[in-house]
Amino acid sequence: MASVEIRDVRKAFGNVQIIKGVDIQIDDGEFVILVGPSGCGKSTLLRMIAGLENITAGDISIGGRVVNHVPPKERDIAMVFQNYALYPHMTVKDNMAFSLKLRNAPQAEIDERVNKAAAILGLGSLLERFPRQLSGGQRQRVAMGRAIVRDPQVFLFDEPLSNLDAKLRVQMRSEIKELHQRLKTTTIYVTHDQIEAMTMADKIVVMHDGIVEQIGAPLELYDNPANTFVAGFIGSPSMNFLKGKVQGGQFVANGGYSLALPALKASIEGKDITYGMRPEHIRLDPNGIEAKVIVVEPTGSETQVALHIGSGANEQEVIAVFRDRMTARPGEVIRISPAPGLPLVFDTASGQRIY
């Protein structure tokens, strides 16, 4: 086990900057998830940690040792690939034993380690099968088994669940988390799915366009996003953003309605701001603002409602989630207001959070 330190790392393919200076500190035994939309550089960063891509500038160190020029096999890491990358001509057992055989480990040790990993992952009865004879979830487990057998300092996961169906994904999510709690190996996990990030991580790194937008614990990112990108990316359905100005200590939306703002430390009177409102923080309020119901989507446990608020050119769609059953019909006008508590207010120009 080891800590991983990423200091001002950059990556360029020709003139195209993929990663534009990233600093991340990953502590020993931590489960860190790199999350972001596709093309944000998260997979490239993971491959740089693995040694599959060169580092254009900056340093990556594993366990205190700078590994920029250390070949992958000497970095003592194991990686689980998105397509699993199981060797098709080897049985499950041989797949898991391959790295040990290359190291000329004694047969007894190989057997012991493979059997131990197989027991952890419930692969005992599949050891003689070939990858083609396995289901998606079983292949996923073999890929993890191959990583566990090595007993590496760091586990790297590259979108390991994206090829599985929704139900299996939820199951594997908790299996991976449980595995981490059991082995306590430092883990770096890449995904574009913010739910995976929220549910599994000790610490989430939100990346966007080659930079780190914010690093923090899942709920910290949810409660205190640093900017509109993180606020919109974390949470499902996404946060609603209302644009407007501060007038007389109140938020006056471009759509014509106004919402209360808490007392401010420094005056932002007259500033263009973006008012962030999570769908689950919207409630029905007879004194609230008018909203026209567009679509009602009951899911059983909650009801998602798409609403139009504001008027004219500034009419905008807002998604609301109600825990109570709703009987609203499309076209009906209801009144809503944000739940009490701190609203999230962002500077419209920079996207940064004001408070």
């Binding site: 992958p72 990358a85 001509h89 070939f130 004879q133």
Partner: protein, 318 residues
């Protein structure tokens, strides 16, 4: 009443079709009908000539004279008395073995090289294909000049460089001629092996190489444990074809040496032609050609059973 009538019409059995009508519309027979034209072509141009050849090999037919059935006498004659037949058979085997081994080694090497990211990749790939594109006879005639006893550019260059005082007798000396035609066959056969193996290499997912790298494999170990095993099915197919083409080669030899000097470079195919068509001994010629069949069958069997062993390619059984 009308309702009953229409009901009856619906449930009435279909009108009696003739057997022919039924065969025409039956889905199971449809495949058979579509197969017929191809089957006709195969029977007319492959099965019939092959059968006729085998039959002729059992007769003493000559040009201008219908033959009589003489059993295995042609074969007996060839094996016991015809030294040229024995030599051409041995040379055909050596020609095939040596040329195929080199074609495989060099072809695989080129394929691995071309599978890397390199500059002008597609340009180099098309260059490699050139020997394959040029008609065999044309390249054979070019080689004939390159290896000519008097005008050989190789002898000339070596002499100019002061490394040699006399011309090399490439196609005049039996052993040299054998080596030369094998070289030319290798030159011509490499592109097929290289390009096909390259196609096979490109089906191997790059993430397997990455996984093996992370597992600690060296470049050689990756080739030995990942690339080569994954390539074996394609190697088996390519090398079967290569062996079949090489074993039945005719054009190259005929254009370069016509089997000479002193019959040293006769392959079974060229000897069969020489004996059967030029010599007029159709029966004996057919017997030589027929004698190639067991060798070809053996080559096919080896690759067939080689292919069958690979369990990992087969789908899920349970």
């Amino acid at each position: 009443m009308t309702a009953t009538a229409s009901l009856q019409r619906v449930s009435a059995p279909p009108p009696d079709l003739s057997t022919w009508e039924r065969l025409k519309s039956n889905r199971d027979w449809l495949g058979f009908w579509f197969m017929l034209p191809t089957a006709a072509i195969l029977i007319l141009f492959l099965a019939y000539p092959l059968g006729k050849g085998v039959w002729m090999s059992l007769t003493d037919v000559k040009i201008g004279r219908a033959g009589q059935f003489i059993g295995l006498e042609n074969y007996h004659e060839l094996i016991v008395y015809d030294k040229t037949f024995r030599n051409s058979t041995l040379f055909t085997i050596a020609y095939t073995a040596v040329a195929s081994a080199f074609k495989f080694a060099i072809g695989l090497y080129l394929a691995l090289l071309l599978n890397n990211n390199m500059r002008f990749k597609s340009f180099v790939r098309s260059i490699i294909l050139i020997p394959f594109i040029v008609p065999t006879v044309l390249s054979a005639i070019a080689f004939w000049w390159i290896f000519d006893s008097q005008f050989s550019i190789i002898s000339w260059s070596l002499k100019k460089a002061g490394l040699l005082s006399e011309n090399i007798n490439f196609l005049g000396d039996p052993f040299m001629a054998q080596a030369t035609v094998i070289f030319c066959n290798i030159w011509r056969g490499i592109p097929f092996v290289a390009i096909t193996l390259l196609a096979g290499l490109q089906t191997v997912s790059p993430s397997l190489y990455e996984a093996a790298t992370l597992d600690g494999a060296t470049r050689w170990q990756i080739f030995r444990h990942i690339t080569y095993p994954l390539l074996t099915p394609i190697i088996a197919v390519v090398m079967t074809f290569s062996v079949l083409f090489t074993f039945t080669d005719f054009q190259l030899i005929w254009a370069m040496t016509r089997g000479g000097p002193v019959n040293a470079t006769h392959l079974m195919a060229t000897y069969s032609y020489q004996k059967g068509i030029l010599g007029g001994q159709l029966g004996e010629g057919a017997a030589i050609a027929t004698a190639m069949v067991p060798f070809l069958l053996a080559a096919i069997m080896v690759s067939w059973f080689g292919l069958q062993q690979r369990k990992w390619q087969q789908g899920a059984k349970e």
